[in-house]
């Protein structure tokens, strides 16, 4: 048999990517479950192509670029819902990468991570909404284009909040830290819920509406000059999210192989030994905390702008646990794993559980029978989309018992003093 007859891995990957893209773009059915599978199939090349140990970067990089820059926007044009899903995945991927620094690299269990996300979201909500204008006076609300400035401000505000929380509590051992961060998450939520009096800062449980969006003129121009029906604003968010994901991944990689990354690893593995080797404990932990918080703060700004509405509900304990489930599922400390975890959990939440609920509701409505038992008997309270805690709980337990290092375990790379900076 001629050796050249079988194309190599790379060729298969390219062929698969093209075929799936074509199928997705041409024959999107509108059926939730089938489209979800198709969408996941479209994301699969991202996972394979980013494994540079097995896949040649000269093939992997173009495949990544093609899927992210071409296939996903095209599918998004067909059905804006999927662009939205991609944006959500991106937001959570960056959040997960931020938490990965704290939990994965430095080994500090943070159960109130979403609080920093809330800080960023409320920051943009207050400075850019009519509600904030009433509070802050002249000059406000800021226009949508201040978004990029505030996103950078949010990096520092969130990092500052992280440091402020970290200073008193980082001297604690791991389990104390977990519960203090959990409480901190609650505190932020209680504050968001109750700071509508004496001075109305957060507008309480009603939340803040009418938040400005960035680059609305650009979206408007694109709509008038090209396709008016298409949601250009969503595409702009997609571009912004994609950039931020890229920045986050690069930052994670660089931090992982930097000297601070080595210090994090050292305190994660053995605090006392690390201290004995001259790693300053509090400062190193503080940097981890602040860096993770900065990621979350920036994404908070983006989240608020995209939703144009924030309320305390979006920042409850469930969300913190959701992000934790992402990184535990993917693999603590493993960048590819964390990204995959973010994708899987977000899609599970946004699509799989919802379409399962819809499917079951359909079966109930039609009175479908299986072994003489009618689905009409299924209690109406049972909707898979309402039981995400149960699923997260099972994921956390099962992963810790059977694959404590995640689906894509982080690798241990030996690094000698000579090439410490360049290996990655």
């Amino acid at each position: 048999m001629a050796h050249g007859f079988f194309p190599g891995r790379s060729a298969w990957l390219i062929a698969y990517t093209l075929v799936v893209t074509l199928l997705c773009v041409l024959v999107f059915t509108g059926n939730g479950l089938i489209d979800t599978v198709a969408f996941l199939a479209l994301l699969a090349p991202l996972f394979i192509a980013s494994d540079f140990d097995k896949c040649d970067p000269r093939v992997g990089m173009p495949v990544l670029a093609f899927v992210l820059l071409c296939a996903l926007p095209l599918v998004g044009m067909r059905n804006t819902f999927y662009l939205d899903v991609a944006i959500q995945v991106g937001i959570f991927a960056v959040l997960a990468l931020g938490l990965n620094i704290v939990v994965g690299f430095a080994g500090l269990l943070d159960l109130g991570f979403i609080a920093f996300f809330a800080v960023g979201a409320y920051l943009w909500a207050i400075v850019s909404s009519p509600h904030g204008a009433a509070l802050l006076g002249t000059g406000f609300p800021l226009q949508g284009d201040a978004f990029f400035v505030i996103a950078i401000v949010a990096v520092f505000v969130a990092a500052g909040t992280g440091a402020l929380l970290g200073l008193p509590v980082l001297r604690l051992k791991g389990d104390y830290l977990a519960i203090v961060t959990l409480g901190f998450g609650e505190v932020i939520r209680v504050l968001a819920n109750n700071l509508d009096k004496p001075l109305n800062i957060t507008n309480g449980p009603q939340g803040i509406a009418g938040i400005a969006q960035p680059l609305t003129e650009v979206a408007g121009t694109l709509a008038t000059t090209t396709a008016p029906a298409f949601k250009w604003q969503a595409l702009i968010y997609y571009a912004v999210v994609l950039t931020l994901v890229l920045v986050a991944v690069l930052a994670n990689r660089r931090l992982d192989s930097s000297s601070i990354g080595r210090s994090w690893l050292a305190i994660r593995e053995d605090e006392i030994a690390a201290q004995a080797m001259g790693v300053p404990l509090v400062r190193t932990k503080l940097i981890a905390f602040a860096t993770g918080a900065a990621f979350a703060g920036t994404m908070g700004v983006l989240f608020a702008a995209k939703q144009t509405f924030v309320s305390p509900e979006s920042f409850d304990f469930n969300q913190s646990i959701g992000v934790l489930a992402m990184i535990v599922l993917g693999g603590l400390g493993s960048i590819r794993g964390v990204m995959m975890g973010a994708g899987l959990v977000t899609i599970l939440n946004l699509q799989v559980l919802k379409s399962l609920s819809a499917g079951l509701n359909h079966l109930r409505a039609t009175g479908f029978e299986i072994f003489g038992w009618s689905f009409a008997n299924l209690p109406t309270q049972f909707e898979p989309s309402k039981y995400e805690r149960l699923i997260f709980g099972l994921i956390l337990i099962a992963m810790m018992l059977y694959r404590p290092r995640g689906l894509v375990p982080a690798e241990r790379r030996p690094i000698s003093a000579g090439n410490a900076g360049s290996a990655s």
Partner: protein, 321 residues
């Protein structure tokens, strides 16, 4: 605020604070005992407490309602069943999610993460089961006996349930103190808490003692759940979270790992919380309302951890390499 008003509000506030404190103490014992023997914070404890409360409320609503038994006996029965269910659940959690991790060389964070997993799972599992039968927020059934007012001061009275809770929770604490200090089992628990390795060399079956510790802690949580539902009149799948956090704060306040510490810490926290919840809104003209009492309780936790990490009664710990 007039001095007169403060004087009038003080006795009922103190009584409520003491009750809340005893409940926190009963829950906190579960955290502190497990921490004592394993050095692990059992995050799932708050949900084990919640399940106890739900079981007791359901029993009183559907099984014991209308029975000729005296209300106190009904409550006692519900309490025993709730304690048994909670204990079984705590034991199951230890068997399924903690023990396997002790054997394998799991990462340090692993038991904490499985504990959170169990917590989440129990919340939704209870919500699912409850919503099969209607609302998942369950009111405590009406039992007029527990609302009989008893005079506290000339102007004030406390309901019968307060006295019942005081006696029941107090008896639990005394009983536990006796068990830990005077019995063979208690001696074994203290031995394992002091040094697990040495205890096993002395012929103590460490896994059995750890299991028993979980069972005792779970049973106490079940009792506390029943009493908590009686005091606050309702229970839902998420009502374990905040009391659990507070009880943990109480355990840390008293010195985690210390049994008398958990009792003292619980009572102190209950009193502080009630006093703040009553008097701060009055002092600040409602600018800082009762909603903030959780934040105060939590601020106390952070302050203790900064200034006296070993708590009020905890022993100073030395780190071993």
């Amino acid at each position: 605020m007039s001095f007169q008003l403060a004087l009038e509000l003080l006795p009922p506030t103190l009584a409520d604070g003491l009750i809340l404190g005893l409940l926190y103490a009963t829950i906190a014992l579960g955290y502190t005992m497990v921490y004592g023997v394993l050095g692990l914070i059992n995050f799932a404890h708050s949900e084990i407490f919640m399940v106890g409360a739900v079981v007791a409320v359901e029993l009183l609503t559907y099984v014991l309602a209308g029975s000729p038994l005296h209300p106190v006996l009904q409550l006692a029965l519900a309490m025993i069943v709730a304690a048994a269910v909670s204990a079984a659940l705590a034991g199951l959690a230890e068997r399924v999610a903690y023990r396997p991790l002790r054997r394998s060389n799991a990462p340090k964070l692993a038991p904490l993460i499985t504990a959170i997993g169990i917590s989440l799972f129990l919340q939704d599992a209870v919500r699912f089961v409850e919503s099969l039968f209607g609302q998942f927020i369950r009111p405590f059934p009406s039992m007029p006996f527990f609302d009989i007012p008893l005079p506290l001061t000339p102007n004030d009275s406390i309901p019968m349930k307060s006295v019942v809770i005081l006696i029941a929770a107090g008896a639990m604490l005394v009983g536990l103190r006796y068990t830990v200090n005077q019995t063979r089992l208690g001696k074994a628990i203290r031995a394992v808490a002091t040094d697990r390795m040495a205890a096993s060399l002395m012929g103590i079956d460490v896994n059995r003692i750890v299991m028993l510790t979980f069972l005792i802690g779970g049973a106490l949580a079940g009792v506390a759940g029943t009493l908590y539902a009686l005091q606050f009149g309702r229970v839902d799948p998420f009502s374990g979270f905040i009391p659990g956090l507070k009880a943990f704060t109480a355990a840390v306040l008293g010195g985690i790992g210390s049994i008398p510490g958990a009792m003292v810490g619980g009572i102190v926290l209950g009193l502080i919380e009630m006093l703040i919840g009553t008097f701060v809104p009055i002092l600040t003209n409602n600018a800082i309302g009762t909603e903030y009492k959780d934040i105060f309780a939590f601020g106390i936790l952070i302050l203790i951890l900064i200034f006296k990490p070993t708590g009020l009664l905890g022993r100073p710990s030395t780190e071993k390499v």
